[in-house]
């Protein structure tokens, strides 16, 4: 979407110009939020280890770039010729595709080129993804490097105001990691029910939602599937729900989508 000029104040004459639709006269239903949506028109980015574009549970992949660190320390963003270097991104992409079958999937590869130095690559990849204006960016990863926290925070807040939803896997370990803890990010942990349409709002954040993350049949390198457990697979479940809602209601802002997830959660609606 095009960027509007920020409004720093509201003159009396401007009030009529910002009339907004009161879309929620009563608590929204799941039917209103997601009913009939297949994700068509929504653009979802998998920021991960790349995506295997040929996997039958994932294809088609509409774009793929890799963030690379050159010998001179310079970071560049290049077309991704490798696909998925370890399988994690493909697994996440498959979860999104299974729930939002017609969404447009994109890959930004920031992992796999070595286990260290990934903080810089995650930052550069996230900045690129936000600039592309994707509707949803899935981050089933985190960094523990404090020096990246402030920049990540700025990027997350920038995305939030640009209507790009960052959905991140929560870290169920006693360590500080980013960016899932930020309030401008939707953080997701796992529940044990085998249903992608069961999700819970957590009254005790920083984990904000729980989605299916146990024994998930995920797309596996080589074309098959594997039963996996982890918040890595709960996050793309919620990313896909965001894509369904945004495909049907493209006018929704990031905080509205987060509220919608809360209002339609299994524990608030008994849905």
């Amino acid at each position: 979407m095009s960027e509007a000029v920020p409004a720093w104040s509201l003159p009396a004459a401007g009030v009529a110009g910002i009339a907004l639709t009161n879309m929620w006269p009563e608590p929204p239903t799941r039917e209103w939020a997601f009913g009939g949506s297949t994700g068509a028109g929504a653009r979802v980015c998998i920021l991960d280890s790349g995506v295997d574009a040929s996997h039958p549970l994932v294809a088609p992949l509409d774009s793929a770039v890799a963030v690379e660190l050159g010998d001179d320390g310079e970071i560049s963003i290049v077309p991704d010729e490798l696909g998925d270097v370890c399988g994690h991104g493909t697994a996440c992409a498959g979860v999104v595709r299974s729930i939002a079958p017609d969404c447009s999937l994109h890959s930004v590869r920031v992992l796999g080129a070595g286990a260290t130095g990934s903080g810089e690559l995650i930052l550069a990849g996230l900045r690129h993804a936000v600039e592309q204006g994707f509707d949803v960016i899935n981050l089933s990863l985190s960094t523990t490097k404090k020096r990246f926290a402030e920049t990540l925070h700025d990027l997350a807040d920038g995305a939030y105001f640009r209507r790009t939803l960052l959905v991140a896997a929560a870290h169920n370990m006693p360590v500080e990691s980013y960016p899932w803890r930020f309030s401008s990010v939707i953080s997701v942990g796992s529940h044990e029910e085998d249903d992608p349409l069961v999700w819970y709002a957590n009254p005790s954040p920083p984990v904000e939602f729980f989605a299916r993350g146990v024994d998930v049949n995920v797309a596996w390198p080589g074309g098959g599937t594997m039963r996996c457990t982890g918040n890595s697979f709960a996050a793309p479940n919620v990313a896909a729900l965001c894509a369904l809602a945004l495909a049907k209601h493209p006018e929704l802002t990031a905080p509205q989508v987060k509220s919608l997830l809360y209002l339609t959660a299994t524990n608030t609606q008994g849905a």
């Binding site: 370890c86 080129a113 286990a115 146990v214 080589g222 457990t229 982890g230 918040n231």
Partner: protein, 211 residues
């Protein structure tokens, strides 16, 4: 030798040896295996210089054979966990020909299920802790993942101590300065069972004070 290096060397000499830290890691994998009733548990150290994962401790299947074995760090299940910093559990691994080929052939043991958490210490990722094959009829769920995540903090501290000790021992072994010699002597005396070391150092201290 700089001040930090000297402190590290003295600490290594007086606080513990490679063997003691190995025993700590071994105890951690033994307990992890017992907590989950698993067939095996292992700790991988991430070798940043070579981008490899090195078996540092193994309990159960593979115990005795695998320590020291190296695998590429950026591929495989532990590689996933290392780069994403996210815990992971997998079922049906025995049905994955890729995994069976890459790891099974090297280790001689292919688990059906495994749970892996990253070992994070401060800002660094030091390695991974794995638990393999829970008892028949059970599985690794969210409660088990949370428990292993908590337990991993202990393993990470153990691995951090081992790495610090190795760095300090390297400094001790290669430095020719007086401080390093003193540190080596202190470490050697500390390893003795009797109090001869303490008596010798006390006598030396008195002698130096008299001059």
């Amino acid at each position: 030798m700089d001040e930090d290096g000297f402190r590290a060397a003295v600490a290594a000499g007086t606080l513990g040896s490679e063997e003691q830290h190995r025993a700590l890691l071994q105890s951690i994998v033994d307990v992890a295996r017992a907590i989950f009733g698993a067939k095996a548990s292992s700790i991988f150290l991430f070798d940043e210089a070579t981008e490899e994962l090195v078996f540092e401790a193994v309990s159960g299947e593979g115990e005795g054979d695998l320590v020291g074995m190296r695998l590429p760090a950026s591929t495989g299940i532990s590689g996933w966990v290392l780069v994403t910093r996210q815990p992971l559990a997998i079922d049906d691994l025995a049905n994955d020909p890729r995994y069976v080929r890459s790891v099974g052939e090297q280790t001689g043991y292919v688990p059906n299920a495994m749970m892996v958490v990253p070992l994070l210490h401060g800002e660094a990722v030091l390695g991974t802790l794995s638990v393999l094959d829970p008892p028949e009829g059970t599985r690794f769920g969210v409660a088990e993942m949370d428990l292993l995540g908590l337990f991993a903090a202990q393993a990470a501290i153990g691995l951090d101590l081992l790495q610090r000790a190795r760095r300090a021992h390297d400094i001790l072994a290669n430095d020719r300065s007086t401080a390093a010699v003193v540190a080596r002597v202190a470490a050697a005396l500390d390893r003795r069972d009797d109090d001869a070391g303490t008596r010798l150092l006390t006598a030396l201290e008195s002698l130096l004070e008299q001059q």
